[in-house]
């Protein structure tokens, strides 16, 4: 094919593959990890499109590497409710991994909030002694605090660890320590604050963003933020990209493309 030899002409790997749920672990009151009977090569921060035949398909970050790839799911709406009803041995479809994943760098701080901790977990395991801050509303909703016993813990209500937000802890540690990069994933308002703190401190940031996703492969344009496709250009974005994203921390689009505030998006997206 001469000059077109490099063109990937399709091999059908974009079709979902049916896999078995090998093991289910209760992570906290609202989260379960589903381990699949399949080893999937991936970069920390990448995601799978998970298909429940007849119900729908949603993106989930990979939270566990290894012989049984794992996704950690928070109970949010109809789709996750059905997942939560599933048992070991049940089957789901997956395609992927998709997205860019995090770029690994040296001296790192990781800031995770709520469900956003899931994609950060394989990252933490691939970094050399990172400083980790994990936060949640309360002790019952904390994720992976036992998996990462050295992590600093914050809860909004003070039921475990530092009483307050991850961002307060980040500000404090930045007074004492320097980092090459801060990785973050969690509620967008939190990530926006993390990014601003990094900007003020002159530290590079990588944030994993979330938007209503349809194709997952960079063609439909639904998950775009200011011209960046979350599914393909992201979900991890650099400081340079975050700086020019006017909608970051402000607006997001619902299933029909209506642009709403981040708060309304978070409230209505699972309906």
């Amino acid at each position: 094919m001469n000059e077109l030899e490099h063109v990937h002409m399709g091999n059908g790997h974009g079709l979902p593959e049916i896999v078995k749920i090998e093991k289910i672990v209760d992570e906290n009151r609202n989260a379960k990890t589903f381990f699949l009977d399949k080893r999937i090569g991936f970069k920390p921060g990448q995601f799978l499109m998970v298909w429940i035949p007849g119900l729908g398909e949603k993106p989930f970050s990979i939270s566990y590497a290894g012989a049984m790839t794992g996704i950690t799911v928070y109970l949010k709406g109809k789709f996750t409710r059905r997942l939560f009803e599933m048992n070991t041995g049940d089957r789901i479809g997956i395609r992927g991994p998709y997205g860019n994943g995090f770029t690994l760098k040296g001296n790192a701080c990781v800031v995770g909030g709520g469900a956003g901790i899931a994609p950060l977990a394989p990252l933490i395991e691939n970094l050399d002694d990172p400083y980790v801050i994990l936060g949640a509303k309360n002790a019952d909703e904390l994720l992976f605090d036992k998996r990462f016993p050295d992590a600093m813990i914050t809860t909004d209500d003070g039921s475990k660890g530092f009483s307050g937000f991850t961002t307060e802890l980040l500000k404090n540690i930045l007074k004492e320590r320097a980092f090459d990069v801060v990785y973050t994933c969690g509620p967008e308002i939190m990530m926006k604050k993390v990014f601003e703190i990094c900007e003020n401190a002159g530290i590079k940031c990588q944030a994993s963003l979330e938007r209503y996703m349809k194709c997952g492969i960079g063609v439909c344009g639904h998950c775009e933020i200011d011209g960046f496709r979350v599914c393909k250009d992201g979900p991890v974005f650099s400081s340079e990209q975050l700086r020019i994203m006017e909608s970051f921390g402000k607006t997001a689009k619902l299933k029909n493309g209506e642009k709403v505030s981040i708060e309304d998006y978070t409230r209505h997206r699972y309906e």
Binding site: G10, G14, C215, C220, D226, N256, G257
Partner: protein
């Protein structure tokens, strides 16, 4: 060498056009596609009312192309009118794709999109997977094509492009109906089918809507034949769309009769910069084969 081409009085710097339904969800997304080399861009289709579209999975890749049943999800004409403004300030012409269930809906949306700086309006009468629209609503017959095209042409001063289905037996009749009604160009073709892909382990169709439009390499030979037939039927220019992955594919389409080419699924196969890549490949081939401008190649396969 001249890679520029003029269609319906609109000047394109190169013959690659972003096809409707791919990436065209916001002004900034279109801007980025232009930065990546597109000669023109088309928005995702806009309807009068907001639409959720179909449930996921909506787009899947198989071994010969993509299949989609997005179902025209869009925020509706009011939101779209605020998203897309000053389109003439972009570095390439932008076309707005509008849809409706009735001729009157098309006319209303056309009116709402009129002063946004778009260079043309495209009306797809050919979507194979959305109830109420396109082929599922019979908009692909010569009669309906004439009626809807006429309604849109009357409601706007912009050139009107009619996007037609590859599934029609007498495709030339539909193209002629559009031309008679005042269309300025034909976009040929939309996705074909609908098709279906069943996951045998799940014992279920993969697309949530079960069926979807087929695009990409599987569509290309059908699209080339359609463009060839349309070229023999009408005088207005053709935007040849369907499975174009490379510069050679684009030239094949141009030789079938297209003045410029729509690019969609290739964004998946070769990345968002596929527009620049295809343009460079067209230029290289023309250089090697002694062509000086695109016009010399249009319809060359008919001689």
């Amino acid at each position: 060498m001249a890679l520029g081409i003029e269609i319906s009085g609109i000047r394109l710097g190169n013959p690659t056009v972003l096809a409707s339904g791919i990436l065209g969800t916001s002004r900034k997304m279109l801007e980025r596609v232009i930065e990546n080399g597109a000669g023109a861009v088309t928005t995702k289709s806009i309807s009068l009312e907001r639409r959720d579209g179909h449930n996921n999975p909506t787009v899947i890749e198989f071994d010969a192309g993509l299949m989609n049943a997005v179902g025209y999800s869009n925020p509706g004409a009011i939101d779209a009118a605020s998203e897309f403004s000053d389109m003439q300030k972009l570095d390439a012409p932008a076309f707005v794709s509008i849809i409706g269930k009735e001729p009157g809906d098309f006319a209303k949306v056309a009116k709402m999109m009129e002063n946004k700086g778009f260079s043309a309006i495209e009306i797809p009468l050919s979507c194979p997977h959305t109830p109420g629209f396109g082929t599922l609503a019979g908009q692909d017959t010569p009669e309906k094509t004439y009626e809807i095209t006429k309604a849109v042409v009357k409601s706007t001063n912009l050139p009107v492009f009619v996007k037609i289905s590859p599934n029609i037996k007498n495709i030339g009749d539909v193209a002629q109906a559009a031309e008679r009604a005042g269309a300025s160009a034909i976009t040929a073709v939309n996705t074909m089918g609908p098709g279906m892909i069943i996951n045998i382990d799940a014992r279920k169709p993969v697309l949530d809507f079960k069926v979807g439009g087929v695009s990409g390499p599987a569509l290309k030979p059908v699209a080339v034949r359609c463009v060839y037939d349309v070229y023999e039927s009408v005088k207005i220019p053709i935007i040849g769309t369907g499975g174009i992955m490379s510069g050679k594919d684009a030239i094949e389409m141009i030789m079938a009769g297209a003045a410029c080419v729509g690019i969609g699924s290739a964004v998946y196969y070769r990345g968002i910069d596929v527009f620049g890549k295809i343009t460079a490949e067209i230029e290289k081939w023309m250089d090697k084969n002694g062509y000086n401008n695109i016009r010399e190649m249009i319809g060359a396969a008919h001689e």
